[in-house]
Structures are given as C-alpha cells and as structure tokens.
C-alpha cells in the first residue's frame, strides 16, 4: 500500500548530539500517511534518539524534520504533540503517582478533555487497564505499564503514533498481543513509526523498515525484503 500516499513525516539528514556525543549522523527517512514504518537496530544505534528528535524532546543540530510539510525544527515538544504526534516513550514513562485513569486523561491533554469514546476504545484494547483504572500506575507490572503507555498515546487520537520498544520487557504472548494491537490501530487509520529491537516481529507488521547502525541508516527497504535480507537476518534475527 501507500506508495502513492503523501509523505506525512519527512526527516532530512538530521544530526543530533548529547552534549559532545554525536548520536545521529545524518538520518534521512520518510513515513507516508497510513504506513507502519519500523526502525530496527541494536542498542545504542540511535533509534530512540531519532524518535526524540522527531517529537521535539531533542533538537537536531543540523538537518530538518517536517510534518505534513510543516518544519518542526525549534518547535517545542508540547506544540508538536498538539499537531497530532503522540509518543509512547522508551521505558514507558507513565506518571507513577497518578492512577491509570488519570494517566489516560493526561494522554488527551492536548485535545482538552478526554473523549469517553477514546477511553472506551483503549479499555477495549487493554481490558487489564479497565480493571486497574484506579490503581497508581507506578505500582503496576512492566507489561501493564507498557499497555498504559500505549493507551495513553492513543488517547491523544494521534495522526502519527511513535512507539518506542513496545515489546520491551514483555512476555512473548503479550508481545504478540501488542503487535496485533499496533496493526489494528494502523488499520483504523493511524500512521505508525515503530522502533523495535525485536526485528522479526516489527518487520512482520511493518510496511517498510530502516536499519540503523551507530547513528546512520545502513539499509532501507520494504519490510518483507528486509526480513529476507542476509545481513539483517544475521545481525538482528539471530541467524548464523
């Protein structure tokens, strides 16, 4: 699909630094409307840094990020959020001393008030969150917090959803479930940029993928082509 769809997110040759550390050395990628695009690569390759640069938590020192043709450089993170970009960040980052319900309400902050329909949809996707609605988020298990982080991002009713390692720390059965949900969310019209270490699962649901290595893109292709690529299979799918 989507070869003809308009480009939603356009990242052109961005360089991002942490202090003196040159973390991204010229990343260029595009996400078209309606796609699931995945960034795969090992620890420290710059996947999360790329997402943080897109969502405005980090500013690129060079290069340009634009969303629907609008330049995002210098736009603070909270304004980018209100443009319809929601992120489920690395390490989940739920608000630990707020209840599950309050966390979900915070997800809708940029829209003003939480929509009961959105809340019903999130509870539908993650029944576990409904059971625990009044529990403090910090007291939940890692898997439950992961569901909450994704649910919270969905509450913004995003046009572009950035998912950072949604499978991190989850039991295999939950990983399958989460990826199924990501596919459902995408089918309902949300564009997804997915960062994953679990390359096999990510490539199974994505339309296209980029492979990152030490801050640079080393491969870019259709997801099924990447899944067959020898180098990818060796490096990320654990084949000898």
């Amino acid at each position: 699909m989507a070869d003809t769809a308009p480009t939603m997110l356009d990242v052109q040759d961005i360089h991002t630094y942490y202090g003196h550390i040159h973390a991204l050395k010229g990343i260029t990628l595009q996400v078209r409307k309606g796609e699931i695009v995945t960034l795969i690569g090992s620890n420290g390759a710059g996947k999360s840094t790329t997402l943080k640069t897109i969502s405005g938590l980090l500013q690129p020192r060079q290069g340009e990020v634009s969303l629907d043709g609008r330049r995002l450089n210098g736009v603070p993170a909270h304004k980018i959020a209100s443009l319809g970009v929601a992120q489920s960040p690395e390490g989940r980052r739920v608000f630990p001393r707020m209840s599950v319900l309050e966390n979900l309400e915070m997800g809708a902050f940029s829209r003003g008030k939480a929509d009961p329909d959105d809340l019903a949809r999130v509870f539908d996707l993650f029944p576990r969150l409904k059971e625990r609605a009044s529990q403090k988020a910090g007291t939940m298990s890692g898997g439950e917090q992961q569901m909450l982080a994704i649910g919270r991002a969905l509450m913004a009713r995003p046009t572009l959803l950035l998912l950072d390692e949604p499978s991190m720390g989850l039991a295999p059965i939950l990983v399958e479930q989460i990826f199924g949900i990501v596919r459902d969310i995408n089918a309902q019209g949300t564009t997804v940029l997915l960062v994953e270490q679990n390359a096999l699962m990510a490539l199974a649901i994505a339309h296209r993928g980029y492979v990152l290595q030490t801050g640079q893109i080393v491969l870019a292709d259709e997801a099924n082509a990447l899944a067959k690529n020898e180098m990818v299979r060796k490096a990320y799918l654990g084949e000898e």
């Binding site: 909270h78 959020a81 980052r93 608000f95 707020m98 309050e102 915070m106 902050f109």
Partner: protein, 324 residues
Amino acid sequence: MDFNAALFTQYLIIGIASGALIALIALGYTLVYGIVELINFAHGEVFMMGALFATTVVATVGVTNDSSGVAIVFMAIAALLASMLFSGLLNAGIDRVAYRRLRNAPKLAPLIAAIGISFILQNIAIYWKGSNPITPPSLIPTEYVRYNVLTEWFGLETRIRLRVLDLAVLGVTIPLLIGLTWFVYKTRTGKAMRATAQDRDAAALMGIDVNRTIAYAFLIGGALAGAAGMIAVYYNNSARFQMGFRYGLFAFTAAVLGGIGNLAGSVIGALCIGIVWSMSDGFMSQYIEGWGAGWTPAVIFAVLVLVMIFRPTGLLGEQTVDKV
C-alpha cells in the same frame, strides 16, 4: 516541677499559629522542589518582600485602626491579596529571569543562583525600607489587641489566651490550603503540574507546556509566601529585611521533615516545627534553667539533622522512591 497544663496549652496555641504560617512558606519550597528539584533558597526573601509590600499597601491606602470595622476587614483582605500577587509575580519573575535559563545546567548552578538572588532581594529590601525593624501601620483596633476569644466568646475563666490574631492566621491559612489542594488535584493546570513533577519529558509529550507549568508552580508558591508575609508582619507587629532568613530556614526544615515534594507532609512538618519553636521559645525555660529563645534555631536545626540521618525522605515522603 509540676507540669503546667495552662501554660503548655498557651504555647501550643502559639505553636499551631506559627506552624500554620510556616506551612504557607514550606509549601512554596515543596511545590518548587517537587517540580524542578531546586531548593529555592530565595523563597524566604520572597516571603519577606511580601511582608514589606503589605506594609506599603496598608500605609498607602491609609486605613488605620481608627477606621470603621468594615474598612479594616477590607483593607486586610486587600493587603493580603496584593502581597500574594506581588510575591507570586516576583517568584515567577525570578524563575523566568534566572532559573529557567539554568534548567538543563548542573543542579548546583540554579542553587547558587537562588542564594545570589536572596542576597539581591535582601539588599533591595534594605534600600527600600532601611535596615532597622519597621512597625507596620496599625490596623488592629486597640480593643482587639488584648481581646481573648475564649473569655469573650465562650465565657471561659482561664488564663489561656486565644487572640483574634491567632484565629486570623488559621482563618487565612486553612482556606488557602484547601484551595491549593483543590487546585493541584482538580484543575487542568494542577494536573499538568503533577504530571510535570512526576516526569517532565513525558509531560511535554502529552502536550503540556512545561515551562509555563513550572512558572505556575513558582507563581503559586510565591503567592502563598506573600500571604504568609502579610500575616507575619501583623502577627509579629514587625518586619525587617532579615526576617526571611529565619522563617525561610524554619519552613525549609518543615518541608524536609514532612518529606519535600509532598504537600500534606509540608503542612504536618510545619505544625511540628511551629510547636517545637513555641515550646522552645517559652515553655522550656520553665523547666531548664538558662533555656531561652536563643536556643530555638539550634533545636530546629537539630531536628533537620536528625531527619537527614534517620529518615531522609521525611515523614510522608516516598517521592524519591518511585521516581526511578
């Protein structure tokens, strides 16, 4: 020596009133610490400036203790609101000019900036009001200065004195505490403040303007300190450029005792400190020869040291535990 219950009760009343006053200041430390992890060492001076501003407002309007009762009540409320606004804007202004630029600097940088600002404010206060203690324009009708609520309202024959001023302190503090709780837990900005305090980056991702939310925390903390300043100046019938130092350190101790970052903890800590303060100032000398108010700071800082050693998170503080 026998336990003197009446005297004890008397100092308890004074202690609770002082504690309520300290609570208003302590909340400013805790609000700001909770959201930016900065001990705002200029906070005592923001309180002091509020106190001085209140005297100016009352003097400028010219209502005195000879004016009508209605005029006096309106004057008191107006001066309270004016010093809240003044100190709130001052505190938010300091954040905008100094701390905000240092948001991503090492933690020591804003701390040193805060100490510098406290010196600046003290010097402004000296320039403004002089270095000697000033007496505020009298506002309380003479017959109320020695008025005992317990005798006049309840007909109790007792040596314990509950002054109108003691009640006024509680009458201002309690509604402010309720208002603050409502604000933090029920309003959109309050929720944004809690979210920002718990995870600043995640809050930004939700669409929360983090800098503006932090400014609100400074504004509210400053406003509470301004209210405390107006109360303190009439409670003590005196104000001076140095008053923020002692109150500030006592309130800081209260915030740490309660668990810094925890609103309810600060109030509880402040009541404890207020009671320790009044007991040390008055009650202890009955039992220990040579004990006097001069020992009070030593006692309070001993409390601070003991808390640091035995319960660094404070009475209610678990904030740092789940802030992984």
